[in-house]
Each structure stands twice: as C-alpha cells, then as structure tokens.
C-alpha cells in the first residue's frame, strides 16, 4: 500500500473524528454558559450548572437508575441472544428462516410503535410498569443486535476445534464452555457495549413502560419542555464522564479477574 494512500486515509479518519466530536465539544462548552439557553454568543461563563448536577439528587438518582437498567437488560439480552445465535448458526432445520425473521423483528420496528406495542403487550401479560417492565422491553429490543454480532463471529469458528474437543471426550456443554464461549468473548463484549448504549439512550420505551421514577433520558425530555438549558448539557456531560469512568473501571476489573482465575 502506498504511503500516499495511507496519509489520505488517516486524514479521512481524523476528519470523521472531528465530525463526531465537534458537537460533543460544543455540548460540553455550552454547559459553562451563564444563561438559561444554549447557543452563541456566550457573554459570561459559570461553573454553577456543573456543580449543580452533583447537588441535584433527582438527576443522580435518574443516572443510577438508567445504569442499573442498562446493565440488567444487557445481561438478559446477551444470554438470550447468544443462545439464539448458537441455535441458528450453521444448523439447518425446518423453520430456521422463520425463527431468524422473528429474532430480528424487534430491532426493525420504529421506536414509538414498538413502545406502544410493548405497553399493550405488557398489559396483556400483566407486567406492571416500572423497572422490571423497562428492563424487559430493553432486553427484548436489544436481543437481535446480540444475535447478529454473535452469529457473525460464530461463523468464523474453526469446526475442527470443537471436533477435537469432542474426540477427547468432552460433552457438548463442556465443549461449548471451553471452546466456543471463549472464542465468542470479543463478540459478546462488542454486543454488550451496543446493548448498554441502546438501553442508556432509550427514551420512548422507558417512557411508556416506566413508573414514577424517571430514567435519565425521560428526565432530560421533561426538562427540555421548559427550554434547552445549559443544565441539560451539564447533565449529559457529567453522565458521559461517569459512564466512561464506570466503563474503564469495569474493563480493568474484568481483566484483573481474568488474570486471577
């Protein structure tokens, strides 16, 4: 590959980085504006919006609630999604296409429709609105993404390894846990990030299935009603930093756990 190409491509990459980061930088910046509305020009600056976030128990509670929902729903999605992927990948059986179709269905229904459909169905099943209902809807909605990612990885698994393990006397479950599962870990990690993200950012399902405790996006929507204030930018920024810290900590933690075991 020529040097020329390489430089060109790296320019494209950094241009893309700029594209995704400039709005983000503006968001962080606006949190320092001393006014009730975001936008240029900024005439005076303040730290109050940021310090205010840490004093606002409602916001912090909403953040914690959203994180808990994201983690729980991701655990469900990953287990169910991996299971479905293992069933579907590389197996031929009657009705496979139909099951695959149904599997990806929740990802394809527009948000508002899916939220109302879930609300109607939750009532039909007798699920009370609240944390359980939100976790349930997020888990179902995110399963297809796990299935797609895990299936892609599974299709590249060398069959010989499983066969070798079976030859050595391992039963299918042990073969799965010892060979297949470790091979899937990168895909599962990737899918988890996806699920966490989708759940954390979801407004419409959380709104329709939630109870009296708001998730972070629901709180932000309600606050938006009285204007797009720098307070919302400060909340979003703090939430971003906190999730990043939690993410890095979780990554370190799992790495240490892996080393220890």
């Amino acid at each position: 590959m020529t040097r020329h190409n390489r430089i060109l491509l790296s320019c494209v990459y950094w241009a893309f980085v700029a594209y995704v980061f400039v709005p983000l930088i503006l968001m962080v910046l606006m949190g320092f504006k001393d006014s009730n509305f975001i936008g240029f020009p900024i005439r005076s600056w303040t730290l109050d919006w940021y310090t205010g976030v840490f004093a606002d128990t409602e916001t912090l509670a909403a953040f914690g609630y959203s994180v808990a929902i994201a983690v729980l729903s991701t655990v469900f999605s990953v287990i169910v999604g991996t299971w479905i992927a293992v069933l579907l990948e590389g197996r031929k059986f009657w009705g496979r296409a139909a099951i695959f179709g149904m599997t990806v269905l929740p990802a394809l229904i527009p948000g508002i429709i899916s939220a109302i459909a879930f609300r109607i169905y939750a009532r039909y099943l007798g699920i009370e609105p609240g944390m359980g209902a939100i976790v349930w809807s997020h888990a179902v909605h995110n399963v297809p993404f796990v299935v797609l990612v895990v299936m892609a990885r599974l299709s590249t698994l060398p069959k010989s390894q499983i066969e070798a393990a079976r030859d050595l006397g391992a039963d299918p479950l042990i073969a799965f846990l010892r060979i297949t599962f470790p091979y899937l870990v990168p895909a599962i990690m990737g899918a988890s990030i996806f699920c966490l993200l989708l759940s954390f950012d979801d407004f419409v399902r959380s709104f329709f299935l939630g109870g009296y405790e708001p998730t972070l996006p629901v709180l932000i929507f309600a606050k938006l009603k009285s204007g797009m204030s720098p307070e919302i930018n400060a909340i979003a920024t703090v939430a971003l930093v906190l999730t990043a810290v939690i993410g890095v900590w979780a990554e370190r933690f799992t790495r240490r756990m892996n080393k220890d075991s």
Partner: protein
C-alpha cells in the same frame, strides 16, 4: 486475526491443562452433571430440542407477541376501546393509506432518504473502517475504535441540539466562516435536507462502522500482497479483492442502517425543514396529535415495515448475486 486467536487458544489449552483438570474434570465427573449430560445428549434429536425450546418460545412470545398485538390493533376500528363501544374488524385503516395520496409523499420520501443516507453513511465510514482495520497497528486499533464510540454515549436529543448550535445562523460554522471573512451573511444550513443528513449520519455511522470493520479485519493481508506482486495497482486491488471480500459487511451494514433509518423520528423532526417530513412523523401524528387514531397509526406502521422489509430483501438478493458472481 482468526488464525492468531485460535493458535493462541490451543497453546493456552495445553499450558493450562494440568490445572484445568481440577475444575472441568471435576465437573464432568460429578454425578448429577453426568446424569444431566447423558440425559441431554442421549440423541442428537433430544440435544437439538433442548437447545431449541427456549429460543423458540422466546421469539414467539417476546418478539412476535407485541407485533401481533400491533397487527390486531391495525385491523380494528377503535382502540383503546371506550366502554360501551363495540370493536369491529376492518381493513379501512389500510385502505386510508392507499386512498389518500397525501400520505404517499412522506412514505416514498422516507424510503428515498433512507436509501440516500445509507449510501452516504457507507461512503463516509468505509474509509474510516478501512483505515482502522488495515493501517493501524492492532495495539492502537481498539483505542481508536473506542474513541469513535464515545460521542454515541450522549443521548440523541442532546446531540441533536448540539448540531443546531453547530449549524445555526449564529452557530459555530457560520461564526468561523464569518471570522475568516469568507461570508457576510450567515448561510442557512439548518432545517434543510443537509442538516438532517448531518444528524442522521451521526446516528447511523456506528451501525455501519462495526460490520464494515469486522469484515475488513478478517481480510487476509496476504491476498493483497500477492496481487501487488502480480502487478495490480491500488485501485484494481481494491476493486477486485477488497471490495468483493467485504461485500458481506457492506450488505449487513447497509441492511441495518436502512431499516433503522426508516424508523427515525426525533432527529428528522428537529433538524428537518418544512419539506422533509418523514413517514415516522406521520405515524407518530396518529398517536400523539390525534390520540384516538391508534388503529390507523398501527396500520401505517405495518405498511412502512413491510415496504422496508421488501426493499432490504431485494437488496440482499442483489448482494448475494454479486457475491456469487465474484466467486465464479
């Protein structure tokens, strides 16, 4: 990558085998486990059934259930049912779409927009994924990929307002252009197909980037090198080797992005202009503004869904044909 990983795992398995036997060995010789394993794997048929029962039940009850409810609502004349009102079966909700041309415009516009934005996302993210997968050392790769994921942790709405601050008449872009004396009057970027595109590509880039990246990463470097040895130019190598080999990633990325783009609501509503109304907005109108027209809204959602599905099915066929043509 694939080969590296499996080789590493094999080596690991050998090195660990002594300590392993303790846990895995103990588990497999534990009586209840043995009984369970023998029961479960007595025949391939039983093994398959045990594997299949839960997923099938799950997709039937959890995935299909809500959709069927939706379908049922779309075929009734009143929902939610007020007391004392009788619900009737009807096709009128579907007929009202085909009977009134005012709905066709946003419908086709949505499909066209989704197609165009999918293409734009592909063009924009392909070089990015290519750079990451081919030109960055594996050590930095994860870091640079994660860097790109950070902005997606910010909610859609907050990000969309940030784009308004970027593109508005007194926004950052106009401010910079003015500062350098390139313009006298602000350029009205906002509330056009352009501002909408900027917002939508932001939302879809991630869904495109990941499948592209993983398919590019799998591509063996040796093939390109061999082609180069045979004297193929960079463009030829890309067109004849890289592109065909990554068709799978392109196809799954495009399918995902296309289907998701047809359902976008908040971003087009906030960033679009008077002439960019999308179908999701029309559908939401039946639920929000005219709160008592759920059945019509549900029927329209079903129509949109089927149309999007038909288009992606056709697209998948095309891609499969392309791939087959290449391998011949």
């Amino acid at each position: 990558m694939t080969y590296d990983a499996s080789a590493r795992e094999e080596r690991g398995a050998v090195a660990e085998s002594a300590s392993d036997r303790t846990f895995w060995g103990r588990l497999s010789s534990w009586a209840p486990y043995q009984w369970l394993a023998t029961f479960a794997t007595a025949s391939p048929r039983r093994q398959f059934l045990i594997l299949a029962v839960f997923p099938i039940l799950w997709v039937l009850t959890q995935h299909l259930g809500p959709m069927l409810q939706m379908l049922r609502v779309s075929l009734t004349d009143a929902y939610p049912v007020a007391p004392g009102v009788e619900q009737h079966f009807t096709f009128d909700n579907y007929l009202s779409f085909f009977g009134d041309s005012i709905f066709w415009m946003p419908f086709f516009r949505t499909l066209i927009f989704a197609g165009v934005f999918t293409f734009c996302t592909l063009i924009i993210t392909y070089p990015v994924a290519y750079f990451l997968a081919r030109h960055v050392s594996p050590k930095n790769r994860m870091l640079l990929l994660l860097l790109l994921l950070i902005p997606f942790w910010v909610g859609e709405i907050v990000r969309t307002y940030a784009i308004m601050i970027l593109l508005g008449n007194t926004g950052a872009v106009n401010m910079v252009l003015r500062f350098f004396g390139l313009i006298d009057r602000p350029i009205p970027f906002m509330y056009t197909s352009f501002s909408m595109g900027v917002g939508i590509v932001y939302l879809t880039a991630l869904y495109m980037l990941l499948p592209l990246y993983s398919s590019l990463e799998k591509l063996p470097k040796s093939m390109n090198e061999a082609a180069a040895d045979l004297g193929a130019g960079a463009w030829t190598r890309f067109r004849r080797i890289t592109l065909p080999m990554t068709l799978e990633g392109i196809s799954s990325g495009c399918t995902l992005v296309f289907l998701i783009s047809t359902g976008f609501y908040a971003t087009p509503v906030l960033l679009g202009g008077p002439s960019t109304t999308v179908f999701a907005e029309t559908i939401a109108g039946f639920f929000h503004v005219a709160g008592d027209q759920w059945p019509t809204g549900a029927a329209f959602a079903v129509i949109m869904f089927l149309a999007a599905l038909a288009i992606t099915a056709a697209f998948q066929r095309l891609m499969t044909a392309l791939r087959k043509g290449d391998t011949k």
